[in-house]
Symmetry: C2
Subunit: 143 residues, 2 copies
């Protein structure tokens, strides 16, 4: 099931939040691309839908949407991060290092490795953060 403005808006309402023009503009921006967007980029794109969308509102909206798992922060190679629409639950992202296209991987294939780490270190493992970088199918053909 692909996210649409309607499904996303519905999730906002289900969590008791108002569906405002600025919030719609943020959703429009995120829906317009599969790449992570910075708050400033979201503002710029969002102003096509809500002309005076403020950067402060973008920050507040992203914080809100992150809480209800509508968006997820993505750490890029240089450490700073952008935001992408997310499906709920535990996922990982593969990011093209050339064009920044993101594909979400649902599920987690790291169980065995984490068990090994637990035995090796004596830690009780409670979570992990994984970002995978590579070249997308398109970018492999563009040297």
């Amino acid at each position: 099931m692909t996210a649409t403005l309607e499904t996303l808006a519905q999730q906002l309402r289900e969590h008791g939040h108002k569906l405002t023009q600025p919030r719609c503009a943020v959703l429009h921006a995120l829906l317009s691309t599969a790449k992570p967007l910075s708050p400033a980029e979201i503002q710029a794109l969002g102003q096509g839908f809500c002309a005076d969308l403020g950067l402060v509102t973008v920050y507040r909206t992203l914080e809100l949407m992150e809480e209800i798992e509508l968006v997820r922060p993505v750490h890029l190679a240089d450490g700073c991060h952008g935001y992408v629409l997310a499906t709920p639950g535990h996922t990982h992202h593969v990011i093209c290092e050339r064009c920044h296209a993101v594909i979400e991987i649902s599920g987690c294939g790291m169980g065995d490795f984490l068990n090994f780490v637990a035995e090796r270190t004596g830690y009780r493992i409670t979570g992990h953060w994984l970002e995978i970088s590579g070249l997308c199918a398109d970018c492999q053909h563009i040297p």
Copy 2:
């Protein structure tokens, strides 16, 4: 082989850098704990060895040491990060979410998972970033 001030200093020299008092102070600070330290924390600890160690110098020194793989940034849960001494090569870290103690895992047990991701997505995988969080052996006993 555990890192000492002498081995670390030697590595700086081998890369053609001067061994200055401020740089020694940063190494002292990093050697004094197994937890990730922020630039400000490194400055505070380092001033025990070099009284007027400046924060700007800490930033410059960390950048330098990161280039020669003497230190590594560690992303904490809240996104900001600290630095720890690192062994060269590909490693991962396990961080205690209560006391922040870090253990380094050398090697990488994710080959199979990354192959799966490559097949699933069509991406050519070139790198990954993984941080594991948990409770260290000590902290498991302290509710």
